[in-house]
Structure formats: structure tokens, C-alpha cells
Amino acid sequence: MEFPANLRYTKEHEWARQEGNRIVVGITDYAQKELGDVVFVELPEIGLTLAVEDTFGVVESVKAVSDLYAPVSGTVVDANMVLEDQPELVNASPYGQGWMVVIETARLEEFQQLLTAAEYQAYIAQEKSSR
């Protein structure tokens, strides 16, 4: 399972990558494995304003609809609409072609507060041990 060190992570199993004042967001390799085959992705309109932890979309797999949460506040400036026709990219390439949205933020400190790769791995290990 991959946990790229250049990314930040959330406890909702999303990743975030900083590109200037823009944050690219997707779900983690761990999340896509837990979800199973993703059959549907719903993403927001460009221009939507989000606060931290606002829902910005959903993914569906194994008859379960799961909400997606904004890791940082800001405005949606891009959304990966390819996923509407090819939701399987979330499984095949969670950190690449399976990216979901780009949020332009004025609060980069929110990005800095997200989990590092090591912290996220520790969090997953803790989740697994509680099963």
C-alpha cells in the first residue's frame, strides 16, 4: 500500500497535495482498497465554496454511498470530471488519474495541519488494531 511522503492526509482517508495556493484532493490507496470497486463518483461544480470538513461529493462502491470531505477551506477551481465516466480510475490510480478536486485556499495553514504520511500510517494501524 502506498503512502507518498509528499502528500498530506486526513482521518477520512483523503490525500492532499499542495501546488502553490491550490490543493489537489483525492482518496488514499487504503481508502480505495477498503471501498472496493468504485462505481460512481459525484463531484462539485467549479466555484463551490467549502469550509473544512464540508462534504464536496460522494463515491459509491458495494452499494455504499460515502461522503467526501474538504481537507481545507476554499473554492473549488477544478474537478476531475473524467471520473464520471471512469470511476474505476479511483481504484487504479488513487494518487494520479483518480484525483478528485482542486481547492484554491487562502489558508495554507489548514494544509500544514493535515496528517503526514507517517502519522496517517500510524492512524490506519490503530484503526486496524481496534477491529
Binding site: 477520512e12 477498503e34 472496493g36 458495494v62 454511498v65 470531505y69 481496534s130
Partner: protein
């Protein structure tokens, strides 16, 4: 002392209100304002419920539904079409952090509770194993939910008996599902857009793959008997005491609001979530 869950029996309800109340129960529990809940209910009118992302114009014979008095409603959960008529429907609202993590774990443990319940009725239930991902590709699914057995769903002699689906929020989940007492397979497929030439074959397949409780028992049971079996199954499986409860005023208020602005609208039920969201102010 056993942990407590609520037990709600809301009787036969309107399709839109049924879905609205399930969503309201999840929302209130997510906010930390209610105990975990097992709800049982029925349907006032024959209803075709669709999965969250299902394409209604593509999958549903809308004019046939209308002509036959079948209500069409879109669920907040995933999956495909379910025909609700003579059945017991269950819904569970519980925290995500309850010693269980992940979609599979919840399907499994709720499946165990359902299996325990149906075993008390004398049904030799088995839980389906998780499907291994098919590396060769995905097959085109049937628009009918009961046409396929998914992970940890319940079957007897290869016939699917309970179809379930989930909505997962940040801190809580809703899982609901249908336990048919009798199954009108012909009516289900009449409500779906399937090529006429394929209908006989689909009905034959459905006869072999879709089950109903009273078709498998020598003495038919009533919804009340199934409700009691569910209470026992969930109580023993989750180690909880189920307290007879009523829907709170806050839950009814939210449910009636959601019924009006969402589940009673063609925008949500037919056009789908994206269209509904575009035209609906933020709640």
C-alpha cells in the same frame, strides 16, 4: 450493563417519508443527539426504490410504474432498484466508531444480526462471502438489486433473501434493507426497462435467484414475527438492549422537511442528486 439502542417500529409509511426518516435518523445521530437505532417499517403503496446514483430514465419504466400505481423514490444509499411491497424493511443507524471499521465490517456484523434473526424463523440462512475483484473487468449489472448477491448478503439455497445498502457519513452510517415476505418478480421487471425479449429469461433467473421469507417457510410468518426476530438478532449480535422508542420531534421535523424538499420531488427521484442539488438551496 448492556449498551442501549433504540427500537422504532414506524409501521407502513409513505415512500418519500420512509426515505426521509431514514436520512433524518442518520443526521440526528451524526450530530450526537440520539442513540444507535434499529427501525422497522413497511410501505403504504407498492414502491420501486432506486439507488443513489441510478439512472432513472434509463433503468425504470416510468409510465408503467405510474399506470400500475407504483411509487418511485430514490434512496440516500447505494445499489440498484428494489421493489417494496409485502416486506419488512429494516434500517440501522450506528456510529462508525463502534469497534467496527470499514464498509465490509459493517455489512458483515449487520449481516450476522440479520442471519441470527432469520434463523429464529427456521430459515437456513448463509452469508455471502466478499466478492474477489475481477481483474478481467466489470460485468454490466442488472438494474434490479435482488438479481445479484453482494458481499455479506443473506441467501437461502442460492436465493437472495435480504438486499441491503449503506450511506456513510463522517461519524455514523445508515444501512437499510428489504426482507421480502412475498415476492412479485413479474411486477418488479415490469417496472424496469428491460428488453421485452429478455423478460421470460429474466423472470426465470429471478425465480432461481430471488427469494422471499414466506416462500421458504411451510407456515407463513407475519411482519410482527419478523420484527421480534430482528430485535433478538440485533440484541444478541451487538450485545445491546433494544429499548422501545418513538421518533423524536426533531427527527420528525427534519424528516418532513426532507420529504417536502427532496424525496417527494421528481428532481431528486427521477433527475438525480446532481440536478436536485443544483436547484435546491443549501439546507
Amino acid at each position: 450493563m448492556l449498551r442501549q439502542w433504540r427500537f422504532l417500529n414506524t409501521g407502513a409509511g409513505d415512500a418519500a417519508l420512509n426515505m426521509a426518516l431514514d436520512e433524518a435518523l442518520l443526521t440526528v445521530h451524526e450530530a450526537g443527539a440520539s442513540l444507535p437505532t434499529l427501525r422497522v417499517y413497511g410501505w403504504c403503496q407498492p414502491t420501486l426504490s432506486l439507488g443513489y446514483a441510478q439512472n432513472a430514465p434509463q433503468d425504470v419504466a416510468l409510465s408503467t410504474c405510474q399506470a400500475q400505481g407504483v411509487v418511485v423514490v430514490r434512496r440516500p444509499t447505494g445499489g440498484r432498484a428494489v421493489f417494496h411491497h409485502q416486506e419488512v424493511t429494516y434500517s440501522v443507524v450506528m456510529p462508525l466508531e463502534d469497534g467496527l471499521q470499514g464498509i465490509t465490517a459493517h455489512y458483515y456484523h449487520i449481516g450476522l444480526a440479520l442471519a441470527a434473526a432469520l434463523q429464529t424463523l427456521g430459515l437456513p440462512i448463509r452469508l455471502a462471502r466478499p466478492q474477489v475483484r475481477d481483474a478481467a473487468g466489470r460485468t454490466e449489472p442488472s438494474p434490479a438489486c435482488f438479481a445479484a448477491i453482494s458481499r455479506y448478503e443473506l441467501s437461502v439455497d442460492g436465493k437472495k433473501l435480504v438486499g441491503s445498502a449503506q450511506k456513510r457519513a463522517q461519524r455514523a452510517l445508515l444501512q437499510h434493507g428489504s426482507i421480502p415476505l412475498w415476492m412479485d418478480r413479474q411486477r418488479l421487471f415490469q417496472c424496469l426497462r428491460v428488453p421485452l425479449a429478455r423478460l421470460p429469461a429474466l423472470l426465470q433467473e429471478a425465480q432461481a435467484s430471488m427469494g422471499a421469507v414466506n416462500e421458504m417457510l411451510s407456515t407463513p410468518v407475519t411482519p410482527t414475527t419478523v420484527h421480534e426476530a430482528l430485535r433478538t438478532g440485533f440484541s444478541t449480535t451487538f450485545g445491546v438492549e433494544l429499548i422501545d422508542s418513538a421518533v423524536t420531534a426533531e427527527e420528525w421535523r427534519l424528516a418532513h422537511h426532507l420529504q417536502a424538499i427532496k424525496y417527494n420531488t421528481a428532481l431528486w427521484n427521477i433527475d438525480g442528486p446532481a440536478a436536485w442539488r443544483q436547484c435546491t438551496p443549501v439546507l
